[in-house]
């Protein structure tokens, strides 16, 4: 096991973490401001990926596809909010879970209806093909590095948006006191739709970027949605900072676990057994991490409200 191999896996972990952050940021923002749990957030991720793949195929430009993913996911999110989600704010979490579960069925089957069951493929743009040399002699794909950088930029942008802008001030006010911001004369309905669209656009962006690494298909959003749940539970629901740290933690622990655990288990048993046993333990690792964190801090690492 060389240093460069470990570094490569570490970067893969960070890259997964960054993707998770894009998903988790939207989820946690929506929960923090509107008190809503949105299972259909994974569907918006899927919408982003499909929009990017279709537009990129039609125009030949990944960048137009990327723009389309933001636009389509934001539009789908806004539509979803206006038609369905808006009716759920005052409801209990059970209703929210079920209604958004129903939305998943509708989005997934609707997408399958339009695009069929075969996956679409999305190529990495020319500009980002190739690799960057890592210390130690191996090379790391440029595209994955670009994802990490994009995620970092989004994290910074989001922090600035929330701490520095008028919209951010309203979002913060909305988190602490819904009645107060209505009293301030802010149109709360528009604010909610905006926040929802913003979260959706982030999910769509994540979907589009991952779409070029994996195939674009129905159901692609579900595994990452559940990981994003783990992230915000660990980070503390409602906290952007928690989402970022939780996402990186989950991304790195998951990736490194899958990489290292089979080798560690191999120290104790024959290599034929070590692979499956290590793999099985690795697949449970982040859930064990979550359990351990909750045992100590039931409201996550950075609880949003005391």
């Amino acid at each position: 096991m060389t240093f460069s191999l470990v570094l490569e896996q570490l970067l893969n972990g960070v890259q997964l973490g960054v993707m998770l952050f894009l998903m988790a940021a939207g989820l946690t923002l929506i929960f923090g401001v509107m008190g809503l749990i949105n299972l259909a957030h994974g569907s918006l991720y899927m919408v982003g990926a499909f929009a990017c793949a279709v537009v990129a195929a039609a125009t030949g430009s990944f960048w137009l596809g990327l723009a389309a993913s933001l636009a389509f996911a934001a539009a789908a999110g806004a539509l979803m909010e206006v038609v369905v989600i808006r009716r759920l704010y005052g409801r209990d979490h059970l209703d929210q879970v079920l209604a958004t579960f129903a939305l998943i069925l509708i989005f997934s089957e609707g997408t399958r209806w339009v695009f069929g069951s075969f996956p679409l493929y999305l190529d990495i743009p020319q500009l980002l093909q190739g690799a960057v040399p890592l210390p130690g002699g191996t090379a790391y794909p440029l595209y994955r590095l670009a994802i990490i950088v994009t995620g970092g930029l989004v994290a910074i942008g989001l922090t600035l948006l929330i701490s520095r802008t008028r919209l951010g001030m309203r979002i913060r006010a909305g988190e602490s006191d819904r009645e107060m911001i209505a009293a301030l004369g802010v149109d709360i309905r528009t604010l909610y739709t905006l926040v929802f669209a913003l979260g959706s656009a982030l999910a769509g962006l994540a979907g589009a970027m991952v779409g070029a690494l994996q195939s674009v298909q129905v159901g692609m959003g579900e595994p990452i949605l559940i990981l994003a749940f783990v992230v915000i539970v660990i980070g503390g629901i409602g906290s952007i900072k928690g989402a970022l740290i939780g996402a990186l933690l989950v991304g790195v622990v998951d990736t490194m676990g899958r990489f290292l655990l089979p080798q560690i288990v191999g120290l104790f048993m024959s290599s034929a057994q070590a692979g499956p046993v290590g793999g099985a333990i690795a697949s449970m690792l982040i859930y064990l991490l979550m359990a351990a964190i909750l045992a100590i801090k039931p409201r996550g690492l950075f609880p949003a409200q005391a």
């Binding site: 059970l94 879970v97 079920l98 579960f101 129903a102 069925l105 449970m284």
Partner: protein
């Protein structure tokens, strides 16, 4: 005094019992399978209804228990079939009663473990954590190759119930229906008992319960474990019905479906899961016959139920739930 809900429950119970016999008489064996599926799904959802309906614990991870039940049935039966001993020299079993007992114990222990951690939290946290734990079990089943991994595990010959031939569809329906009736009886007994009173009060107002001196956590935990056990039992039957068990029984779609059954039928109502399962399976087979994309319409129906008909089927037919 016989309430309207009691009458509706009776009609539903008789209807579910009559359909397979009629189907058998007119030579529609597939309908027997559908009725069996309804009975088993209703039992699984009745288990969940203990936690969700009575206790207000929105577990989004009950597929874990359903699937564990299925895997216990599959694993015990595959060992009995192949003759390979399991741990402690135990040779597996093809006896349903023994399998059910084992499944209930295993799921009970798993429920205890998941419950102890998840019940430290509430609300959205609880929903997400139960979901995450179920995913953990799901990924474990996929990545553990000994019992089929992603491909699942077949049960070559359906497991046995004393004194009857379970390979006959109508007989197996009888076993499943009997289990459902016993499960509903247990649910009603729990609901009406002192434990049930405390559990339902915890759902309504935790502080109130604590300030009369009843600690909410043990009440919730017990309900969660009982709930897990009953759902696991249904899982055993489900594996026997399909003679196959796979990670899909553990998937989060399954967890969602179990909640959906309760909501379609009417939350916290004794026959809610039965009505829900009937509706669900009928929608599935009716729409499934017309379009491959039936889940799209299921989604619409579900959405409409949540937004506009919160009492579910039983709520529509029998009015609001009453607590005497």
């Amino acid at each position: 005094m016989i309430s309207r809900e009691f009458l509706i429950n009776g009609v539903l119970a008789l209807l579910l019992l009559a359909v397979p016999f009629i189907a058998s008489a007119v030579g529609q064996p597939f309908t027997i399978t559908l009725a069996t599926r309804i009975a088993i799904l209703a039992l699984a959802a009745t288990g969940l209804n203990i936690a969700l309906g009575l206790g207000g614990l929105v577990s989004f991870g009950h597929a874990a228990f359903f699937g564990v039940g299925g895997y216990v049935a599959g694993i015990l039966s595959s060992h009995a079939f192949s003759g390979d001993p399991m741990i402690f020299g135990f040779e597996g079993s093809k006896q349903m009663l023994l399998i059910w007992l084992t499944a209930a114990i295993v799921a009970g222990l798993l429920g205890l473990l998941i419950g102890v951690i998840s019940l430290r939290t509430s609300g959205v946290y609880f929903i997400m954590i139960t979901l995450a734990f179920a995913q953990m079990v799901y990924y474990f089943a996929i990545s553990w190759p000994a019992y089929g991994g992603e491909d699942g595990l077949s049960i070559v010959v359906r497991n046995q119930f004393p004194g009857v031939n379970t390979m006959r569809p109508l007989t197996f329906f009888g076993v499943a229906y009997g289990a459902l009736i016993v499960g509903l009886g247990l649910f009603a007994m729990i609901r009406d008992s002192r434990f049930g009173a405390a559990l339902q009060a915890v759902r309504q107002n935790e502080v109130r319960v604590a300030s009369v001196g009843i600690s909410p956590l043990p009440i919730r935990l017990t309900a969660f474990v009982l709930s897990a056990m009953m759902t696991a039992l249904a899982g055993c039957l489900y594996a026997d019905l399909n003679r196959f068990v796979s990670p899909s029984m553990l998937s989060w779609h399954m967890s969602g479906e179990l909640i959906v059954l309760i909501i379609l039928g009417g939350t916290g109502r004794l026959f809610g899961p039965v009505a829900g399962a009937m509706l669900y399976v009928v929608i599935e087979s009716a729409l499934g016959g017309i379009t491959e994309r039936w889940q799209f319409f299921l989604g619409l129906i579900l959405l409409a139920t949540v937004l506009f008909a919160r009492g579910g089927v039983i709520g529509l037919l029998a009015g609001k739930a009453r607590h005497g």
